[in-house]
């Protein structure tokens, strides 16, 4: 198939998925004027790093009713085997499973797409219910898409070995705008504020005072702000490049910067290769210390709240198998994806050897998607 035909077909079939992303996620999109396409996605995922292994399946299915209503359902599993540096120095290795279910509905009204969703995440010591609403609207001749979303979460935190139980109330506010600047350049600006109220620590983790382990104590509120700017440029009919930057700050005085670059390329009309790189750096929370010199009101020794940076590099290979196999599918793709991640901590000590902690992670994903 000629490149022009491929692009024309893609244009026809991809307007709908583009619209859905905007609806559910306030993501940067091209158009919100059509329903998402009916599609099934399946994935097997694997994470291995820092003594933690997480594997499991994920499924997503979408079905439309008429030209204005679309529904979606999600299923996701994390099977966790954990012997992380936190666990081996203050607790016992454990295994558990987290299961997440979600449902959503989208309603197309003119150039606006209105969405609502519900998700439940359940594991032995944590349950989360999340309710979300969103709307996206095309304006300015379809060159600009404005999206807003809100979600509320009710979480229950517990311990498996005691009767401890507490809660978290969470509110997320998103505002996104995407803008077509040229026939080859799409840009987006996203903002998200998150407020949390409740038990925000890990009930198992300990802080240290002069080397002695004591229970952590976190503030019961946290408000964060994140702003991200991104751009995708079509370098040629076969190649695109994308980049993004995110700034993050919160009331715990964590400041973080995230940089991402990616490159996508048609090897031929049936195969797409992606490569990507990411760099992340953050300052520690105001109440974090590797080893406190005395007792404070708030004390944390969570390495996610410490000063550290991480970098990652990865790639994906996608095969449009509907072009090769006589399966009767209109379109189907299989993708293999791998990412390497390196974490380097500036003020978190591995208590086993007294050295600053660092570790490598490997993320593998096998993904299948078909449209019907």
């Amino acid at each position: 198939m000629a490149a022009t035909d491929r692009i024309a077909n893609a244009y026809h079939r991809l307007r709908r998925p583009v619209a859905i992303a905007a609806l559910l996620s306030a993501a940067a999109t091209l158009s919100a004027a059509t329903l998402p396409e009916e599609r099934v996605q399946a994935m097997y995922h694997s994470y291995d790093g820092g003594g933690v292994q997480v594997t499991g399946p994920a499924l997503n299915a979408r079905m439309n009713f008429g030209t204005q209503l679309s529904t979606t359902a999600d299923y996701y599993v994390d099977s966790i085997s954990a012997a992380s540096v936190d666990v081996v120095t203050s607790a016992s290795p454990y295994s558990e499973q987290r299961t997440e279910y979600g449902v959503g509905i989208e309603w197309l009204y003119g150039d606006a797409l209105v969405s609502a969703g519900y998700a439940n995440s359940d594991e032995s010591d944590y349950e989360a219910d999340t309710y979300s609403l969103g709307v996206s609207q095309d304006v300015f001749g379809g060159m600009t898409t404005v999206a807003m979303a809100y979600s509320h979460g009710d979480d229950v935190v517990s311990r498996v070995d005691t009767d401890f139980e507490d809660s978290i109330d969470r509110d997320n506010f998103l505002l996104g705008i995407s803008q077509i600047l040229t026939p080859r350049l799409l840009t987006a600006l996203n903002y998200e504020a998150i407020t949390e109220d409740g038990f925000l620590a890990n009930p198992y983790r300990s802080a240290r005072i002069l080397g002695a382990q004591v229970p952590e104590n976190y503030p019961r509120t946290r408000t964060s702000h994140a702003v991200a700017a991104s751009g995708i440029y079509s370098h040629s009919r076969e190649t695109s490049v994308r980049g993004s930057y995110r700034y993050f700050t919160d009331t715990w005085e964590i400041g973080a910067h995230t940089f991402e670059l990616a490159y996508s390329h048609y090897i031929n009309p049936k195969w797409i290769a992606d490569i990507r790189a990411r760099y992340y750096t953050q300052d520690a929370a105001s109440f974090y210390s590797d080893n406190f010199d005395r007792e404070y009101n708030y004390m944390a020794r969570d390495k996610e709240l410490s000063t550290f940076d991480s970098w990652s590099a990865g790639g994906s290979l996608s095969w449009d198998l509907a072009r090769d196999l006589p399966l009767g599918l209109r379109q189907a793709t299989v993708t293999m994806s791998y990412d390497y991640i390196r974490f380097n901590y500036d003020d978190f000590t591995d208590l086993r050897d007294g050295e600053l902690y660092e570790f490598d992670s490997h993320v593998f994903q096998l993904f299948f998607s078909t449209w019907y």
Binding site: A10, Y11, L14, A21, L24, S25, A27, A28, L30, Q41, N60, D86, R98, E100, G102, A119, S121, D125, Y126, A128, D129, T130, S132, G134, G141, G142, M143, S151, G153, V157, N172, L174, S178, I180, P183, E192, I194, R205, S224, A226, A228, S230, I232, T239, S244, R246, F248, I254, A256, H265, I272, R278, E304, S316, S318, D339, I341, V363, Q365, F367
Partner: protein, 73 residues
Amino acid sequence: MRIALLLAGLLAFTGCSSVEPWVMPYEREALADPIMLTSRMPLVDRHRQHVFEVREGARGASGLGVGGGCGCN
């Protein structure tokens, strides 16, 4: 000073209203190609986002949607 700022704002506003879309729908073929999508594989991208968020202090504004809570520490 305030009047000058007000006039500048009004001029900017009226200027915007006269700007026509400069990329017509028939010029957006390149933008609609799969490799130009914000997320070509939503399940894959959401999982990768989840891997980072549970190991970093920052969260949000990923362009992939509102996340739910989990005890993924």
